[in-house]
């Protein structure tokens, strides 16, 4: 099921140490860790699916300052390309 997105992220995957704190912190549950891809340091990193609310929870808890949070002026409807 797709959901509308009120915000989006820029993720600096190269700084991520793969601690997964953002996965539990994300209330809409739209962040998940990669299972195959790794960054240059060798860590798995988070990926975003549609449904972000720009609540900043991931950015606040991230020890490595990996997230940049953007809030859309108009929500992006489910299924529409971001």
């Amino acid at each position: 099921m797709t959901r509308e997105s009120r915000g989006t992220l820029v993720i600096d995957v190269e700084r991520c140490k793969g601690c997964e704190l953002c996965i539990d912190a994300c209330k809409p549950g739209v962040l998940s860790m990669t299972t195959e891809s790794r960054n240059d340091m060798g860590y798995l990193y988070p990926e975003l699916e549609p449904g972000c609310t720009a609540c900043r929870a991931c950015a606040l808890i991230c020890p490595d300052f990996v997230f940049q949070v953007w809030k859309y002026d108009e929500p992006v409807a489910a299924g529409e390309a971001a």
Partner: protein, 262 residues
């Protein structure tokens, strides 16, 4: 499962930035701490509240010795380095010489409670208008993860592998509750960095403490419970729940004293 969104560049649609990578006063990549550490979120909250209150030009940090010390070269706030546990005394001298400055200390539980307990108690009792911030994770993280005076009963550390046993190791010290009854103390609170709700609450506490100092009300103290998955022998993802179940059960989160509220 729907498709993954491209997060390599800012969105092309109209949008506003609500949270940049690193906070305004911290250099990106400023630290080399372990994955899953709770201290960067705490330091970030401190500097963001200083920035929000417009106190950046007047703020001076006094750092103790611990993992968090790796932030001191990467911060755009004046920083003084104190010896183990001596940060409150250095902050006292600084505040007396420069009364207009906003002085905050950053210390760990090992630094403040084990190595320099008398410093912070006397500073509080004298009512020095400084803000002491203690990052409490119950282990000496930097020197290998052994037990501190605030380690909770049953917590596993390098030298209490079966869990802290009060018969053998004594009972933990509740710093915030110990300092609150002193007359010179204006504000005491305890926050945590294990989830977004607690971080928002923590930011309000830090804001109140710094404001109380700017208003000259007296000594202010904020204790912050932080995760140390390395020292707790846990997977990084389990540490926030462990903090809630174990540490918060003994060290209760909340505002303990606030003289500005009648």
């Amino acid at each position: 499962m729907t498709g993954v969104i491209d997060t390599s560049a800012p969105p092309s649609r109209p949008a506003r930035l609500v949270d940049d990578f690193a906070p305004p006063l911290i250099l990106p990549g400023a630290h080399q701490l372990c994955a899953g550490c709770g201290e960067p979120a705490a330091i970030r909250s401190v500097v963001e509240m200083i920035d929000e209150l417009g106190l950046t030009a007047r703020a001076v940090g006094v750092f103790g010795i611990g993992c968090y010390t790796s932030f001191s070269p990467g911060m755009d706030v004046e920083v003084l380095q104190a010896l183990h546990g001596r940060a409150p005394s250095l902050a006292t001298g600084l505040k007396r010489v420069q009364p207009r400055s906003i002085v905050f200390t950053v210390q760990g539980d090992g630094d403040m409670v084990n190595e320099g307990l008398q410093e912070v108690i006397h500073t509080a009792a004298r009512g020095e208008p400084v803000t002491c911030i203690m990052l409490n994770n119950g282990v000496f993280g930097e020197t290998g993860g052994h037990m501190t005076a605030t380690t909770v009963i049953g917590q596993r550390t390098k030298n209490s592998l079966e869990g802290r046993d009060p018969k053998k190791h004594g009972y933990p010290i509740r710093m915030a509750e110990m300092l609150a009854p002193l007359d010179g103390v204006a504000y005491v609170a305890r926050g945590a960095t294990n989830n977004a709700g607690n971080i928002f609450q923590l930011r309000k506490m830090l804001r109140s403490a710094l404001q109380a100092q700017a208003d000259g009300l007296g000594f202010t103290f904020v204790e912050i419970l932080t995760m140390c998955p390395t020292g707790w022998f846990l997977q990084t993802g389990e540490a926030p729940d462990y903090l809630e179940d174990k540490l918060q059960a003994y060290h209760k989160v909340g505002i303990i004293k606030d003289v500005s509220v009648p």
